[in-house]
Amino acid sequence: MLKCDSLSVYYGKTCAVHDVTFSVPEGKIVALVGANGAGKSTTLKTISGLLRPSHGTITFNGERIDGMRPRDIVARGIIHVPEGRRIFPGLTVRENLEIGACLRCDDKTSLEKDVEHVCQLFPQLAKRMNQLGWSLSGGEQQMLAIGRGLMAKPKVFLLDEPSLGLAPVLVEKLFEAIKQINAEGLTILLVEQNAYLALNTADLAYVVENGRTVLHGAASDLLKDENVKRAYLGG
């Protein structure tokens, strides 16, 4: 469904992503695993159009999308939930959700239905609809960020470090929700530093080192891989 082919991205003169190739099949959760600074987030930013690749192609359902404006990529149903949540601190929870749906020209009732849906997924948010974004706790902010992404009715979800700075309990809840969203038919590309968590959630995984994909396979196989264990699982 979504394919990256020998992608390279430069920040000024430094190369952040170097020949990354992977594909995300429909309906699956695919994880990109690797250390901090390995180029995972850069890859996501390139897919969502924030950065331009200097080499390589990105195709979505057979259409080349590299170099498009973020708007046009969002319009095609690829939604990036950025690292660090990045909710709008001065907007209320409801406004945050509505911004997520800003490219859909839907009427109020269908919007309202989607807000309901997000509330079902994350009941904590329902109570906080009229609070400002910054007043939420870290976990709630992450839920809001995901909910905001869902409002756009995405086909592919790019999740960047959803567990960042969250308590283990919350992380567990969050990943259950992610699995549920996936079960409802949403394709997910997950970037996660906690390799153990990522491999336990994903169907397929790619290991990224220094801006290259060095290893890939079924997540369950990688979990058993000795090299992966040593480098990323601290075992």
Binding site: C15, G37, S163, L166, A167, N194, N210, L233, G235
Partner: protein, 257 residues
Amino acid sequence: MRAILQAEDITVRFGGLVALNGINLSVQEGQIHALIGPNGAGKTTLINVLSNVTTPTTGRVTFKGEPITGLPAHSATEKGIGRTFQNILLFAGATVLENVMIARHCRTKYGLLEAIVRTGNMLNEEETVRQKAFQELEFVGMADKASTIAGNLDHGGQRLLEIARALATEPSLLLLDEPSAGMNPQEVNSLMDLILRIRGRGITVLLIEHNMQLVMGIADVVTVLNFGEKIAEGTPKEIQNNKDVREAYLGRGIQYA
């Protein structure tokens, strides 16, 4: 062995957020001490407190038996605490050599008038600055890049330059904030070697790291932070087998059906 740095009951609050909650930390002289924990656990905040970039809400830090809490950051550097930054903070527009020369500032003394008149003392000091700066560049293996503009170095090079720059301040304690971020496995290997050589010079090292291979490979003591609290401390072996640590950080505890 004695503690070179002692932090007692450090609490840092930003508005309503508690970044650090009553942390006690003691760094022994001549050791490599690693600080690990998930992102957002407060590791960088702790480093900021130790280098006097952030003033803690409560608590005190003593360095070589002398209280340093509340001093400006430059006097911590003068007293011998050097550091690097997680989000590389080089003087990007200056050359590699100039970057290291700036760090010699607190080890030189001549004043404005001496600079204008160019006294012998000033010229001597300048000569030493240049020599020492070159020495540090050689130490980290970057002498050949002395005249490169720092901003044009690759990621690994910038990290090394930060270390060289910190070393040029002649620290007795070096704080490294994620030195291996963005390095490839080979670079990480030579970084490990470099850190060992730094300790060999008699400099105590406190480092934040995510790369477990590095931490488990060279650290003498590991402290684990989670949510602004210290959840474990011990040798790398002990830490690896600690159940809390696995749950909070290494991630074994979270199971899915």
